[in-house]
Symmetry: C2
Subunit: 255 residues, 2 copies
């Protein structure tokens, strides 16, 4: 089946308290897209975080001793480092530019997902505001999913994504940080290949595979596309969660 | 712009010496898809390897001392381990099930990309044959690209992909191992965000972001879809190569 990824282009600048699901439905309606069962909406964390008012004014943050200590060798200010520490369970690696953490939500990423770009809380003091990731991206995704079901009767999937760096390879890729309906992992164990042999590759990170291309369509700079609509996802939707894809430390060869 | 990924469904079982570019064009023609400038063909390594006769009969492999040594703690046979060693520069990690290597081509993956599934060289002795990755996937991609340009006059991109495991997260994702025309990295450094600030996220692994969803459409088991057609890739095509995305060891925090 053909997969179609369409940018949702008419989402206004999201503000705290805005109802993202409603904005998405309005945007889709303006583009004459009617949601049907098994469609997926992929949404950047940024507009979820904005709607959930995850802004922090750095001047209100009181750095801990540890944050001041790290600041000696880091290019980041102690206030930002403090937030990175608060949002994470553990620091994995550190360079002057980047602090790679295990986020409280479980995934590994740079700077606990805290970002200055496209924040724009206040034009005069914009550089001083940062945006944390959504508090519970699975729940945020689920809220949108349930609202769509209630409003339109369609059983869709919803994913929240962010851009993550990777071990071994340059460049960021769109990565799922919250899902409702989109399977984080599709388990092919027990399936046979074309010639009747048991498959060796057994588990496909389906949500992440979709997240990459969704992110490609959103772009990173000023494209103003905070969400995309996907039709033709080849696996059945089902209950899933971020946790499904997180490899625990004791099973991870690369921490 | 909308991105459309269409499976190419009518590719026959590829044999050594087969002309993959011709098979792809025939498949597209049967599906009434005419290639145009900026289209992309994404092809699984498996049919490239088959056409390039990268089969090895394990019974012809003479294991080195090192392979025998590793076999003591590995579930793999010494012959397969020997091939994994020959195809790689370095072993990074090892478990009884998996040997994670730096492939001769530069990327990190399990078992040097050597796989038993969907090989099917010989029905009677199938378990004894394995398939190595293409010798030079950038060149394989480029051959297809140039053939299409010559035959149809269209300036397309071509990617060869494989399924790779990852640090930190469960599941495999489709990953680019060779490209012609599709930019491995799109560099956004210097671009401004919506509010006029310099972007923090600077380099997007565009080819890998596309590879994930392409792989999703191909499936892993017996779907018989070894290639997909992509229309609507949002960045200009240009000369690129696998090397562009490989993070050298001295810059890698996770080896």
């Amino acid at each position: 089946m053909t997969l179609i990824i369409s940018p949702i282009t008419s989402i206004p600048d999201v503000k705290p308290g805005d109802h993202v699901a409603q904005l998405l439905i309005r945007g889709l309606t303006a583009q004459h897209i009617s949601l049907i069962d098994n469609d997926i909406l992929v949404v950047t964390q940024k507009i979820i975080s904005k709607s959930e008012n995850r802004y922090v004014d750095l001047s209100t943050v009181i750095p801990s001793e540890k944050a001041f200590e790290i600041a000696i060798t880091s290019e980041k200010c102690p206030e930002l480092i403090e937030l990175i520490l608060q949002e994470s369970k553990k620091i994995l690696r550190m360079t002057p530019q980047t602090i790679i953490t295990e986020h409280n939500l479980g995934f590994i990423s740079a700077n606990s997902g805290i970002d200055h770009s496209n924040v724009g809380r206040n034009e005069k003091t914009g550089e001083n505001w940062v945006l944390l990731l959504p508090n519970d991206p699975d729940a945020s995704a689920n809220n949108i999913r349930e609202f769509v079901k209630m409003e339109l009767g369609a059983n869709i999937g919803v994913m929240i994504i962010d851009s993550h760096g990777r071990a071994w390879r340059y460049g960021t890729v769109g990565t799922m940080i919250g899902t409702a309906g989109v399977p984080a992992i599709v388990d092919l164990r027990g399936k046979k290949d074309l010639y009747g042999y048991q498959l060796k590759i057994t588990r496909v990170a389906a949500a992440d595979e979709l997240a990459g291309t969704a992110s490609l369509i959103m772009g990173q700079a000023n494209e103003k596309i905070p969400a995309v609509h996907v039709r033709g996802f080849p696996y059945p939707l089902r209950c899933s969660s971020l946790k499904e894809v997180i490899r625990p430390e004791e099973e991870d060869l690369f921490r």
